[in-house]
Amino acid sequence: MTKKHAAMEIENLRKVYSTKKEEVVAIKDVSLTIPEGKFVSIVGPSGCGKSTFLHIVGGFIEKSSGKVKVRGKEVEKPGPDRGMMFQESALFPWLNVFDNVAWGLDIQGVAKKERNEIVEKYLKLVRLWDFRNQLPSQLSGGMRQRVSLARILAFDPEVLLMDEPFGALDAQTREEMQVELLRIWSESKKSVLFVTHDIEEAVFLSDTVVVFSGRPAVISEVIDIKFPRPRDLNLYKSAEFRDYRNQIWDMLHQEHHKPVQIVSEVVNG
């Protein structure tokens, strides 16, 4: 059997932002392997380099050194093989919901009839088909995030990169979105790299939670979440859930008080 590629392989990644005044080391040395079809979350304090990490995997910014491969292919520039959901809404405000979701298909030259079917399918999947003629500005934050998700799913990327997609939502909407995301994910079976600073969200969603330490980012812990799927919101109430949560909480707070830097680890697929 030939060696099957992991969904994403990151090796000794380092990122230094050079500004006029100083050099900021955003990511010090991160290695991470994400197996095919898995849901992996990154948690870490604000400013520790989570977005930077995702932007590098997405090909939007350049790395300083290291290797980044998606399905065995070295990442050089952005592309539709990696669907990126940004921390802020990236929907085009001048297009309605339908046209936003259709955009990627249009420029890839998908025939109109097929395009319309795909858009309809994904807008129904995120339960926003009835809102297809609205402008993004007319939607709530949660609805906008669902449109963003539909827009990414529509062009059928191989992996999903999600940067705190539910960060700005209230607790209840956020939980609904989490359930919805799991439902959609279980249907699509795509590998997901999900960034959040909400520990519970990470535990609830993920197969694996990766804990980033404070600036500059190094991986301080990798925790496998061994809950069966499908999962529902009752999970939040279980004792094991709280154990996971506390374990990660301790990790993060230990980081906060005495910044020990543990050598990065690798998730084995």
Binding site: A90, L91, L95, G104, I107
Partner: protein, 250 residues
């Protein structure tokens, strides 16, 4: 309906106040009537002009010059401004021309342009283009700089090439600033057209204005000015309507 008219009157009250003050001065005879004719007389002359071919022939000449100069400036200026925001080399080449060229009174170049392009429409349209380019390029450039890079990234994520990115992301995202530039440029186009027609022309609104001035009859001059003001106002109203149609999302 009556309420709407009243609202318009309130919106433009400063104009009405000016007109009333003018009328009072004219009626009291404080100033010689030759210099301060009643607005009603002026409106009468303007009306006579408006129904004569004299106005429409000259108006169409001016409009052709204004619109072609303005359009050419927009077609050149908008892509240039956007490209400056994206390509550093382009910006490096353009910036000195903008900062040195902007303070130059470009009308001063008119005699040279006449020498090169003749006294017909060519030299006038060229000067209009030159004049309009500055506000259009500058506003487009700064607008495009402010476009959230997240839109560009999102489009790249969906596989956009440069062409898609220009037409379907940068252009609509910059549209509000582009219109700011266009709104500044359009009256400039009219002003330059009239100015150059006053300097040398046998047709156009500028020519009409100087023709009317030569009679030394104040109400004729004021009537021409009034018609030009209405023309400028209507042009900006039309641009407003177009802007609202394009930037409904803003």
């Amino acid at each position: 309906m009556i309420k709407q008219i009243w609202n318009k009157v309130v919106d433009y009250q400063s104009i009405f106040i000016l007109l009333i003050v003018w009328e009072v001065i004219a009626a009291l005879g404080i100033m010689p009537e030759r210099l301060f004719p009643s607005m009603f007389v002026v409106i009468g002359v303007a009306y006579d002009l408006a129904i004569s071919p004299l106005l429409w022939d000259n108006l169409s000449v001016t409009m052709v010059r204004v619109l072609s100069g303005f359009t050419i400036a927009a077609v050149i200026g908008v892509p240039l401004g956007i490209m400056m925001s994206r390509f550093n080399l382009m910006n490096k080449l353009m910036q000195p021309m903008l900062s040195i060229g902007y303070p130059i009174p470009r009308v001063a170049l008119y005699p040279i342009l006449v020498f090169m392009l003749g006294i017909g429409s060519g030299s006038k349209i060229f000067l209009i283009v030159l004049e309009c380019l500055f506000p259009i390029i500058i506003n487009t450039y700064y607008g495009a700089l402010r476009v959230n890079h997240i839109y560009v990234w999102a489009s790249q994520n969906m596989g956009a090439n440069h062409f898609n990115m220009f037409w379907k992301v940068l252009l609509p995202a910059t549209a509000p600033s582009i219109f700011t530039g266009l709104r500044i440029a359009l009256p400039l186009a009219l002003i330059i057209s009239i100015l150059t027609e006053m300097i040398s022309s046998t047709e156009g609104m500028g020519y009409l204005l100087s023709f009317m001035s030569s009679s030394l009859v104040q109400e004729n001059v004021l009537a021409s000015v009034m018609l030009i003001a209405i023309l400028g106002y209507l042009m900006s109203v039309i641009l407003d309507i177009i802007q609202k149609k394009f930037i409904f999302w803003h």
